[in-house]
Structure formats: structure tokens, C-alpha cells
Amino acid sequence: MSDFLPPSIQAILPDVIQLIYLVATGIFIVGIKRLGSPATARSGNQLAALGMFIGIIVTLFDQQILSFDYIIAGILVGATIGVTAAKKVEMTAMPEMVAIFNGFGGGASALVAWGEFTRFEASAFVTQDLITIGLSILIGSITFTGSFIAFGKLKGFISGNPITFPGHNIFNAFLTVGTLGLVGWLTFDPTSQLTFWLLFGIALLLGILTVIPIGGADMPVVISLLNSYSGIAASMAGFVINNNLLIISGALVGAAGLILTNIMCKAMNRTLGNVLFGAFGGDGGSGGGPADDTDKTVRETTPDDVALQCAYSDRVVIVPGYGLAVAQAQHVLKEVADKLEKKGVEVKYGIHPVAGRMPGHMNVLLAEADVPYDQLYDMEQINPEFKSTDVVLIIGANDVVNPVAKTEPGSPIYGMPIMNVDEAKRTIIFKRSLSPGFAGIDNPLFYDEKNQMFFGDAKDSLQALSQALADI
């Protein structure tokens, strides 16, 4: 594309490109900053998109780029797939979507390194190029396959239970050291195709093997971590092609992903090591497992009863969980809340940091149903209020209200901050059955005498409740 420019500009073009990259870098930083506050988040995202657009356009003037056929075709195909996926995805499926987009990003970084490795004579590379090519292949490939496994686990293609074999962690550690060794070997002997392909293959395998032993409930943490990896992979690709914009943006994403990962682990009171290597969740966890006494009784309730109790309350707090999301019940929930407010009941939503599938996921789902975000309360804000709450409606949430986290030191979720719903005068749990949640731990709250169970699919139950409220 640079051919069209006058020679005087062509001479300074590389510097001009770098300067415009600098502008794009600034735009990214401001964009990410603005993503940090609800009022400015949308403009932040749009700014970041603008930065990306500028980066792409200006790169097309790079003097190495001589043919545009593949570029145009590639962008058309990619954009069609991206737009279709982004428009069609249900808000509940957001974690899977992020996972798979992320996988493609990591894959692209690995491919860039592979392309660079292929297009030059092996002898043309100096050591530092080979190190960065090797690392880019390694991190990019792990991100690629790891993200697809995470996607499969969330979609249910692959069992959400941890899948392990004896010595799994040791084998993974062995492979990790092996790949790093191969990166090193590649710098000594860049002509060896075998080394290159072994590295590529083992890296892809490592992505699968590191994610597959992790339980479905921990996938958000994994996705966040893989998000960080894909940033680092992009950064490594930037090292390979010597592009500052890639290095900086990749590093920003890498850092952001790490911080989010850390926040998520804290919300679950787990360490990252425990998430990655603990094979936690599914049917494995016991610790504070179901007590085998048989005298536990459950009080089942009916829509009319729930409607009456709520309608004559002063304050109702709704604690939504993933069950609400899978049942797509957020709109009916809003309807119920509106009806209650019309009857003069104060309605608040208490959102646990890890409600839904990712931190903030529940906020997105409720926002989709037009629930204003100033009606949503964080756990720290709502917990002191449960004492003065008449009825708590717990919809499709389990682990985040399980008092075991406070009472049984042996339990896998012991120490996780939870919603103190047991302090309210009455709790009503909307749930399909008495089965334990993702963490696989029985919930004593089910058998509490202040608690009633409202069995059924969250959407059907809420519809019945909405109907019952209309009849009062």
C-alpha cells in the first residue's frame, strides 16, 4: 500500500508507523482505564476498538506487506464468524464465548510465530528471535487448546468433573520442563524440524492436560488465566516481529488477566495453585459432605404460599445464582420484583462476587433484564442487612449461601465468604432438587427450620410465583 505514497513520505514511513502505534498505545491505555467504571465502560471499549482499527490500518502500510489477497479474505472470513457469534450468543453463554474468542487469539499468536519461523531460512535467526518464537508457540498453543477444553467443559461437551489420571500433575510438570527444554534446543539447532514440531505438539497437548483436571465450577478462573496467557502470547509475538504495539497491548492484557484471576480466587477463598492442581469440584469434594443421618426434613412450599409471604413483607432480598442464568429466568425475576415493588415491598438484589459463572456475570444478566444496577448490592453491602430482611429468595444459588463455609473447617469451601442469608427471618430456596451444587457439598440450609424449598426449574417457579402474586 506504501507504493501510492510519494517517495518523500515513503522514506520516513517506518517512523510514521511507529508514531501512530504510539498513539494507538495511548488509546488502549485510556480505553482500559475507562472500562473500569460503569459510566464510562462502553466508551472505553469503543476507544479500544478504535485503537485496534488504527493499528490495523497503519500496519497495512508496512513495506513488508505486498499482497492483500490473503489479508482481505482472512479479515472477511474472520469478521463474518466473529460478528455472527457475537450477535447470536446468549448472555448466559458469555463465559464460553470469551473462552473461545480467547482461544482463537492465542492460536493466532502461535500461528504468527510459526509463519515467521517458516518464512525465513533457519540460519537467519539469532538466538533471541528463536527464544521468542519458541515461547510464542508454547504459550499460544497452550492458550488455544486450553481455551477449547474450557469451552467444552462449560458447554457440557466434556464432563465438568475433574478428569485426572495418577501422576497427572507430575506428568504435566514433566511436559512443561520438556517444552522449555525444547525451546532451548531450538535456539541451538533451529534447522531441526523435529524439535519445532515436538514443541508445537507437546504445547498443544499441555493445554489440554492442564485444563482437563480442573472442575467446571473453576472454569471462570481458568478462562481468566488463559486470557492473561493470550495477552502474553500476543506480547511474545510482538517480540518475534519486533512490534512495540503488540508487546505493550499484550502486556496490558496479561496484567489485567492476572489481576482478575487473583480477584476470582480471593472471592472463592482459594489459591490459584489449589484451583489449577487441586482437581476440585464435581463429585469429588467431600470434607463436610452429606451427613448420613436420616432425620433431616425439608419443608416444601407452593407458589401461593411464597407469594403471600413476600407480598406481606417489608423487605425482600433476592440472591440469584447460576441456576437462574441457565433457566434464562432473569426477565421473569424482574417481573416478580416489579410486582412486589408495586405492593410496597422493598426489593434488593444481593450478588455474590462469584454468582453466575464469572465475577460480574450475574450483573450482566440482570442488566439484560433491565434491572437498574443501583438496585444490585455486593455481598459486603447486603450482608449486614439480612438481619432486618423478611424473606430471602435464593434462586438457583447454592454454594454461595452454604453455611458450611462458616461452620465446618473440613469443608472444601470453608472460609469462602458467603451471603449470610441464614440471618434473615425466612429463606426460600428455588432449586430443581436437593442435589448439591458445583462444589459437590450438601447444604444444611436446606434442612433449616426457617427455610422452605420451592422445587422446580427457576423460570417455571418464578412464572408460577408471578401468577400467584397477580392473584393476591
Binding site: M52, G115, N242, A256, P359
Partner: protein
């Protein structure tokens, strides 16, 4: 200072900027932030453009093409889906009723 070391400086400094930028974000925005940051990691498309746009090596061109497809899915899909999420965030609607 060799190129690698110089790039390493940039990488480390940018990481610190990233930590500072993100550390104080309300939980409400974690999902959109993750998704938005993910879209930015599609910046690797710039590398893909260079690989796909050169004419010296046919196989590398094909690899570059695949890389562009992957990265574009990440970039376009990522930014759009983030926008879709953030569009829904609004304050209590005072114009209603």
C-alpha cells in the same frame, strides 16, 4: 542494549501499567473487562497481517491467512460482544412512570 532487552523493558513497564489500570474495578464490570481485554489481545492480528502480506513464501502466507482469521474472530467478536454487554448497563430509569 540488544533488541531483546529493550523489548523486555517495554514489556515489564507495560505490565506495571496494566496492573495499575485494572486494580480498582467494581465486580460489576469484571466480565465486560475480561471480554474487552480479551479483544485487545487480538492485537496479534498485526503480526498476522505481516505474515500473510509478504510474497516470498507461500506456506507462510497460508499460515498467515489462518492467523488473520483467528485473530479477526477474536478482535471483532470480542469488541462487539463487550459492547453488547455494556449497552445493557444503565442506571435506574427515572423517565419511566
Amino acid at each position: 542494549m540488544s533488541g531483546l532487552i529493550f523489548n523486555l523493558f517495554i514489556f515489564v513497564l507495560a505490565s506495571f501499567v496494566g496492573f495499575e489500570l485494572i486494580s480498582k474495578v467494581p465486580p460489576t464490570l469484571h466480565t465486560p473487562l475480561m471480554s474487552g481485554a480479551n479483544a485487545i489481545s487480538g492485537i496479534t492480528i498485526l503480526g498476522a497481517l505481516v505474515v500473510a502480506g509478504q510474497v516470498d513464501h507461500q506456506i507462510a502466507q497460508h499460515i498467515g491467512f489462518t492467523a488473520i482469521v483467528f485473530a479477526t474472530i477474536n478482535v471483532v467478536g470480542g469488541f462487539m460482544v463487550t459492547d453488547r454487554m455494556l449497552e445493557m448497563f444503565k442506571k435506574k430509569d427515572t423517565t419511566n412512570e
